[in-house]
Symmetry: C2
Subunit: 313 residues, 2 copies
């Protein structure tokens, strides 16, 4: 793998782009013209856990992007369709990792490329300070594995993991990435949904089960319900999402969906609670709580454009 | 019944006070000194469905309030305790109607008076334009009946209803007011909770069942769950809350809990979703959705005082 394209350069995409640019030719495919200009002019500076600077190439124009051996789609789940639809054919001879939260992005990627699709889940975290500067916080592994319907070659998955590791980030090639993806899905759907609806960051309330009214009971029930759906779908979880929640609840970290609702931006709920609700329907098991959270968040999104005479109230 | 005291004069309390002052001596017991002064000086003007002006007496001091034949507690459910604790003994020889939303206010009233307690549920609506001016919108009936644990006399309930009717509002004395109270409880808990969490007024979304993600499904499930709890508690409903919801969803009316969360005021959720959750526990039936809404709203209230470094986000 000699040429890689990172599709979408938020915090996660910028971290992949900078680290991989240390070992291969990297292109960044981004939406904003000034973003591409900044990357071409200034390159990318990484601070935090790692400290270095690299040059790389960036463009907003599919026509300028050469064929690549590997793509990493690192946009929000809500933006996968619009981005991969424009450049999917550049990976026809290679592979594409989908690194989104939740379920459903692999299917979208697969619909727009003839390349092999790799299921990815990352626990890495960072903060983007500017288009040319990203801070690496947690360098936790990215787990990757085949996208089952496309029979992705395990050797190719291994090659992609080796490349990410060579660049200085951590990746693990798995024969089946679904146990990791579902662990994060259940954790993310539960924590993001509740955070967006309550306005609380991932605070100690999320693990508090001291009284009947305490929020921790709801998190526990959402996670148990999610585990039931995973089991019905034949997935054995990689980690217990309740343990992940207990650790996260000590951080006061604002989940991305809280950020989105505060700014009235489209959320990833279709790929999180919505995905659990759909998988439950498919597997014929109940998921009333995730389905309720899904409908509440969809209605919250609708409230931003619904005009009524009492809006000022 | 010759002397009546209205405890709390928001829109509903002001409507009772003004109409009853046309036929008996009326006192208003209120919290704010300037509210009492305005009522003593200007009286109350009613506009809308009825148009008239009356004089009445008002005070913030329990010591100034004479013994009364009837009290109508018309505060928010969250303020019943603090208000009736101060004046409950003024009704020791008479009766007190609790006219709050939800369940649980009668018990609080009964703990603070030796008078007979009347269970009340009102569908009347109005808008308070100032301390001295209230507009009557819907003059729908107030349903009243005995508070069972206290063996309230049906004759006294009838006398109270006659008095309200004589004043020009509508009241109906029932042998059992719980079917009416529970119909409104299930309606109110479902609509208020969903409105507060989504930011939507009672809009057409609440009755929309066109797609899987549509909010009307959640309202339907909340209402069905509430009906199951009512049945387990031995209550036969007076009206179908789903029919009430379908009508209300055409109004775009902002429910009181939406008003509360927009202003970060304590909500009535303990008396609405919380009451259904508690009754379900007592009756040994499940109420996962109302319990979830209850915990989400309690956490939303907690978010107003929870400080974290990412608050500005």
């Amino acid at each position: 793998m000699k040429r890689v394209c990172i599709v979408g350069c938020g915090a996660i995409g910028s971290l992949y782009a900078a680290h991989l640019a240390r070992v291969v030719e990297v292109w960044a495919f981004v939406r904003r013209e000034d973003h591409a200009r900044a990357l071409n002019r200034d390159g990318l500076r990484v601070s935090g856990k790692h400290e270095f600077h690299v040059s790389l190439k960036a463009t907003t124009q599919p026509g300028q992007l050469p064929d690549c051996d590997l793509g990493i789609v690192a946009t929000k789940a809500t933006q996968v369709e619009e981005s991969i639809a424009r450049v999917g054919d550049r990976f026809d001879q290679g592979a594409v990792i989908s690194a989104q939260n939740g379920l459903g992005s692999e299917e979208i990627v697969a619909a727009h490329t003839r390349g092999q699709v790799i299921r990815g889940t990352t626990f890495m975290s960072g903060t983007k300070h500017s288009d040319a500067h990203v801070q690496l916080e947690l360098d936790t592994a990215t787990w990757i594995g085949p996208f089952e319907p496309c029979h992705t070659s395990p050797a190719l998955v291994k090659e992609a993991a080796d490349l990410i590791n060579a660049g200085g980030l951590r990746a693990e090639a798995l024969p089946d990435a679904r146990p990791a993806q579902w662990s994060k899905l259940i954790f993310n759907a539960s924590v993001n949904g509740v955070s967006a609806l309550t306005g609380l960051p991932h605070s100690p309330h999320f693990a508090d089960e001291s009284q009947f009214s305490a929020l921790g009971h709801l998190l526990h029930e959402l996670i148990e319900e999610g585990k039931g759906v995973a089991a019905a779908a034949g997935i054995k979880l990689h980690e217990d999402p309740w343990e992940m929640n207990k650790i996260g609840a000590m951080t006061n970290h604002p989940p991305s969906m809280l950020y989105d609702v505060r700014r009235e931006l489209p959320t990833e709920v279709d790929f999180l609670s919505g995905a659990i609700a759909r998988e439950a329907e498919r597997a014929g098991v109940p998921a009333p709580l995730h389905t309720a959270v899904y409908r509440l968040i969809k209605a919250r999104e609708a409230s931003w454009t619904f005009k009524d005479e009492n809006r000022a109230l």
